[in-house]
């Protein structure tokens, strides 16, 4: 290839031709210069061919190996958009499937100021270009960036009801891509308006930089109903209180995540880079609560409070004694679950700003009232139970067989234990009494002797077995445990045994008490009270079903049967008469508990009390047990402060709603037959004889005629009406039916017979309920206010009860 070149070309090829005449001159200078070039080129080669690349490699190694994790993290942070796929929170149903809490989708509206700013800048550039080119005919000046921002601010402030300035402020954060404008707006109204604005607006294009994020909002259709049981969510949509809190994990579900790659402009990338983690909707809860029963109880509590006042509120629990299911749990004051931070009851609102306690200057705040209205008195608070607790002492004695139906007790009015004298509510003494009478009298000395017969140690063990020292384990947060002295102290102190026997000097929660009471009447089984019957998954499959296995049997079935019999006697013939419900067999026990330390007998200061009533029905086969308490009622209402006088009538009224609702049919004896409710037959067009026969057939005995026609032309009440069988039916024989309204008479304080006469005379029909018998039983309430005008034949329910002092 190279033979054309001379072999020593390097030396001679340099300049031999250019200066042919100077051949003889040694080319030292040229050779030297060439050598310099060669040598120095090798230096350059080393620097630029090796060193520089080593330097770059070193730096690159650092970046790709040492710093890779950090840089990759930065990359994925800017390249990916993760969208949280929210899981729908489970629904809360009552036992009949009525929705108590439900989540609906809502939209959170947010801005991407960076994108908006970029669009605005681009519009300015386009506009400038357009103006430079000149407008064609029919073309308008394009929108400027500022006009674009104005449009967004204007429109969003209108739709979202926000200040325009706040929107401008957020739009100015042009480095940000996520600025929340408004959280949880209604999807179908506000959300859709925003969506519409994004796609249809004056720019002619869809707006980039306004986004909506699906979220959910919790709705409680019955606002304050069962508020303490259901609870509420905090601002982050997590359960803060009640079942919403304790079942947070089940209800919440699992959020999903969608990770997508985006370019720097926020558009999805052309190639597939997506990862989905599906959202899993929360489970729904089916409660044991029956919203109707809950409603009866809440109404009853409100009614009691309006009548008697209750400085510290009231509480009611309805339980199925056969398994511990809570049918209703109400605490008053209540609150609106939809807006839990607002003070709901006006009597609490009025307290805000008033002096708190004895310290001057300290006043009640909104926060105090919030805490007060959120408190579930049935579970969070303990109280001295008083006489309703005697049921337990009774059961212990019967179980230990230290007492029986044949036992007799003597009450002198007080008992001396060591140095202490304990008084009976009847200071004159009940004298000789058998067991039923002693319980009916709620005689403290009798119960002290029962407890003594059981003995301190056994007594303590029974209390423990009844679950009074521990929280019951109901599925609510913040359940309090009973407050008692230590076993050692108890066993050594006979006075404690004495005071415990009638439910004083120790504390329990209402839920623990009713649980133990239920055990006394249900055959002896202690159940864990519970609120959630089952959990359903998104498809309605049962994920979890409550297991209603009793914790233990505390007393025998025989003992339990005896307790039922005795407690039925308390209502039918003893101090609990006001708890009677006509047509039903009710068992019950009244209670008026002194709050230890609040009064002083010697100084004549009457202490605070908690009045209460426990009742169950049917007495021979209890399907429902209810405990109502009223904390610190007013002493100035004219009604004697006791459970029997204040709480039992309400209990009766609530029970008279619950029992038929639960499908338990009333059974009427000869005495109560007139109260049995019958359907009035349709008799218009028939003769008087025919009508009378039909009425008898339907159970009505009394009727009178108006007019002297041959056939019945009209009747009061109309056919189909349900009225007590004892009511008088008016048959119009050709005479015009009076359309005049009848005035409701005031019957409170009358005997049953007088009240009936007064009501009937007024052209109305009386239905009596509550205590029966004649001994001191008087009307203590009526369903319609005296003086109101109603149509003839309207049924008025009159609550009968003992107004005399009922000893608890």
């Amino acid at each position: 290839m190279r033979e054309s070149n001379p072999p020593n070309g390097r030396q001679t090829a340099g300049k031999p031709v250019k200066q042919p005449k100077k051949k003889q001159r040694p080319p030292d200078a040229a050779r030297q210069a060439r050598q310099v070039i060669q040598r120095r080129t090798i230096y350059l080669l080393c620097v630029f061919g090796v060193l520089t690349f080593l330097a770059v490699f070193g730096k690159a190694y650092d970046l790709t190996i040492n710093q890779a994790d950090d840089l990759k993290q930065r990359a994925s942070r800017q390249q990916t958009r993760s969208t949280v796929l929210s899981a729908s929170r489970g629904t809360i149903y009552d036992r009949n499937g009525t929705i108590l809490a439900i989540s609906a989708t809502a939209d959170t509206v947010f801005l991407d100021p960076k994108a908006i700013n970029e669009s605005a800048n681009k519009m300015d550039i386009d506009r400038a270009e357009k103006l430079k080119e000149g407008l064609k005919s029919g073309e308008t000046v394009p929108m400027s960036g500022q006009e674009y921002k104005d449009l967004i601010a204007e429109k969003l402030s209108e739709i979202l009801e926000l200040e325009k300035d706040s929107i401008y402020e957020k739009m100015e954060k042009t480095w940000s891509q996520y600025e929340i404008l408004k959280t949880r707006v209604d999807k179908d109204t506000v959300g859709d308006q925003v969506r519409d604005f994004i796609s249809h607006n004056d720019t002619g294009k869809s707006i980039r930089g306004i986004y909506l994020l699906s979220d959910s909002k919790r709705y409680y259709p019955y606002s304050s109903l069962a508020s303490h049981v259901i609870g509420f969510l905090n601002k982050e949509n997590h359960g803060a209180y009640g079942l919403e809190a304790i079942y947070e994990n089940a209800l919440e579900g699992t959020k999903g995540l969608a990770v997508t790659a985006k370019d720097a402009n926020g558009s999805e990338l052309m190639f597939q880079y997506e990862q989905y983690y599906d959202a899993e909707n929360g489970n729904s809860l089916v409660l044991t609560i029956d919203s109707n029963i809950q409603n009866y109880v809440e109404r009853g509590l409100a009614d009691m409070i309006s009548k008697y006042g209750a400085k510290n509120g009231a509480m009611g629990i309805v339980m199925d004694p056969r398994n511990g299911a809570i049918l209703a749990m109400a605490s008053n004051p209540a609150y609106d679950v939809n807006n839990p931070w607002e003070v709901y009851e006006s009597r609490l609102k009025d307290l805000i700003g008033q002096q708190k306690g004895s310290t001057a200057g300290e006043v009640y705040t909104q926060g105090d009232m919030q805490t007060r209205q959120w408190r579930n008195k049935a579970v969070n608070d303990t109280y001295e139970p008083g006489s309703t607790y005697k049921v337990l002492t009774l059961a212990m004695g019967l179980e230990e067989k230290t007492i029986g139906l044949g036992s007799s007790f003597y009450c002198s009015g007080n008992v001396t234990i060591g140095t202490d004298t304990i008084w009976c509510s009847n200071k004159n003494g009940h004298r000789n009494q058998n067991l039923k009478q002693a319980v009916g009298h709620s005689c403290n000395p009798a119960f002290i002797s029962i407890a003594q017969s059981v003995g301190g140690e056994k007594y303590w063990d029974y209390m423990e077995a009844f679950g009074l020292f521990e929280p019951t384990g109901i599925d609510l947060n913040g359940e309090a445990a009973g407050i008692v002295i230590s076993r050692d102290k108890f066993v050594k102190a006979p006075v404690s045994l004495a005071s415990y026997s009638f439910g004083q000097t120790f504390n329990v929660t209402p839920i623990a008490l009713i649980t133990a009471q239920a055990a006394c009447i249900n055959g002896g089984y202690l159940y864990t009270p519970y609120l959630v019957e089952k959990e359903l998954d998104g498809d309605g499959n049962v994920v979890r079903q409550h297991d209603a296995t009793p914790v233990r049997q505390v007393v025998s079935g025989e003992t339990s049967a005896l307790v039922r019999e005795i407690l039925e006697y308390v209502v039918s013939d003893g101090g609990g008469a006001n708890g009677q419900v006509t047509g039903y067999r009710i068992g019950g026990k009244t209670g008026t508990a002194d709050k230890t330390g609040t009064g002083n007998r010697k100084l004549g200061i009457q202490g605070d009390v908690v009045v209460s009533f426990m009742s169950f029905a049917p007495a021979d086969d209890p399907q429902v047990i209810m405990l109502l308490t009223l904390d610190t009622p007013s002493r100035n209402t004219g009604t004697y402060v006791s459970g029997g006088n204040m709480v039992a009538p309400t209990s009766s009224s609530i029970m008279s709603d619950i029992l038929p609702y639960l499908g338990i049919s009333p059974q009427y004896s000869e005495d109560t037959k007139a109260s049995a409710e019958m359907t009035v037959p349709y008799v218009i067009g028939s003769t008087e004889a025919e009508a009378a026969e039909k009425l008898t057939e339907y159970g009505f005995s009394a009727y009178r005629t108006v007019g002297d026609g041959e056939t019945v032309t009209d009747q009061t009440p109309v056919g189909g009406a349900i009225i007590p069988a004892g009511a008088e039916i008016i048959l119009y024989m050709g005479a015009e039916k009076s359309t005049a309204l009848c005035t409701v008479p005031n019957v409170v304080g009358m005997s049953a017979a007088d009240a009936n006469k007064a009501v009937t005379n007024a052209g109305l029909i009386m239905k009596s309920t509550g205590a029966s018998g004649t001994n001191g039983v008087k009307a203590i309430g009526q369903s319609m206010e005296a003086g109101s005008e109603v149509a003839a034949g309207t049924v008025i329910t009159v609550q009968m009860g003992q107004t005399s002092t009922t000893a608890d």
Partner: protein, 419 residues
């Protein structure tokens, strides 16, 4: 002292004859020279250099397609926009290189002065208001407005002009290069003029490159070694003062680029919009690749995150897609190309050829290094393209022309002594 007409005539005739003879001799010499030169220029071109160039260019085109299609899609709605144009220039460039390689490079020796003058004239012309074309706040282009294919940067021409002129001039000076007056002053003067003109555009990176090339050629050409030591000390000291001290701040020059270089992620989210954006995105891109890369074509950073992904920062995309391993292989290819360029310089037939090869190779080497150093944040961001990879028509054509010159030099290399 009279002389006869006959004497005068005879002298005249003698002189004319001598003149004719001399002319004839000269013509013969020239013919011989040309023939020899043609003969010399007919040697084989250096295959390794050509093959390395073609390999690098092929990889460069593939990477350009990968790096540029998102930007092409967004800006032109045509994913192959940059790729097709680059491809055309590459074909033209290869043709130009092969053509130039056939030329006897001594023919351009005579064009050196003219080339320098034209270069300076163009550099002046681009600064004349209304003639130079401005892009991104820099007036660096001449040509038909709105038609990028028909535009070029005078600074690219100036690089060529400087290389050829320096090679021509230095090759004649030999030991005189050691003197201050002959070896330093004229070249520094020329460099100053060119650099000042380029800074006026402004074209900092171009000026830096020309300074580097000029300095390298002077060093190789034989300036006094004391001067080299002085220059190295000055370079290191100046570089240190600018980069590692607050000298710039003290003289009231607030250089965001240096601040970003020192701590690229230190500016917080807001400043990432500005100067730091390029650097931080480049680092993120490189880091994303790790050792083995995310795979050819799979860069995510090129989707509008990395600015100039098809241009100055294309090597970051190489890192992301091919990883440290792939990028290192490409760096080795570049190093081999550069070493081969210098090898040709060492083996060139004459000093002019050597200096031409040194100039061209140094230009490719410096540009490659500076680009990679900027991309990896080894040096502050100056905005410099990567030979054979970055998108750009004139630059590509000139690079191939330069490779053509080195190939032409290689054709006249003498055969190795062993053969």
């Amino acid at each position: 002292m009279a002389s006869t007409a006959a004497e005068r005539r005879e002298r005249d005739i003698k002189r004319r004859r001598a003149e004719r003879q001399r002319r004839k001799q000269q013509e013969r010499a020239l013919k011989l020279l040309n023939a020899e030169a043609r003969e010399a220029a007919r040697g084989p071109m250096d295959t390794p250099l050509l093959v390395l160039t073609l390999i690098l260019q092929t990889i460069g085109l593939v990477m350009l397609l990968s790096a540029s299609f998102p930007a092409a899609q967004v800006d032109y709605s045509a994913p192959f926009h940059f790729f097709i144009r680059q491809g055309i220039f590459v074909s033209g460039g290869i043709a130009a290189a092969l053509f130039i390689s056939k030329i006897n490079y001594h023919r351009i020796e005579g064009l050196a002065r003219l080339g320098l003058l034209v270069s300076v004239a163009l550099l002046v012309l681009v600064l004349v208001p209304g003639i130079g074309l401005t892009r991104n706040h820099a007036t660096r282009w001449l040509g038909i407005p709105g038609f990028e294919a028909a535009q070029f940067q005078p600074s690219e021409v100036a690089k060529m002009g400087i290389i050829i002129y320096f090679a021509e001039s230095i090759s004649k000076k030999k030991e005189k290069m050691k003197t201050w007056r002959e070896g330093v002053v004229p070249y520094l003067g020329i460099l100053m003029v060119v650099v000042l003109l380029m800074l006026k555009e402004p074209h900092f990176s171009g000026a830096l490159l020309i300074l580097g090339i000029g300095a390298a050629m002077m060093v190789v050409g034989g300036v006094h070694w004391g001067l080299i030591v002085l220059g190295v000390i000055g370079l290191v000291g100046g570089g240190y003062a600018v980069l590692f001290t607050d000298l710039m701040e003290k003289i009231g020059y607030n250089s965001a680029r240096i601040a970003v270089w020192r701590d690229p992620f230190g500016g917080g989210a807001e400043s990432l919009q500005g100067v730091a954006w390029q650097t931080t995105q480049s680092l993120i891109t490189i880091g994303s690749g790790g050792l083995l890369g995310v795979g050819l074509g799979k860069s995510r950073q090129k989707f509008m995150y990395l600015p100039e992904a098809e241009n100055d920062f294309i090597f970051a995309v190489v890192f992301e897609e091919l990883g440290l391993v792939g990028a290192t292989l490409i760096m080795i290819l570049f190093a081999m190309l550069i070493i081969r360029g210098y090898w040709i310089a060492i083996h060139a037939r004459d000093r002019f050829g050597s200096l031409l090869a040194v100039g061209v190779t140094t230009q490719i080497a410096l540009q490659t290094f500076l680009n990679m150093a900027v991309v990896t944040n080894l040096v502050p961001n100056t905005g410099i393209s990567l030979p054979f990879f970055s998108y750009g028509g004139t630059a590509l054509l000139i690079q191939f022309a330069e490779i053509g010159i080195v190939l032409a030099v290689s054709r006249q290399m003498s055969a190795p002594i062993s053969s």
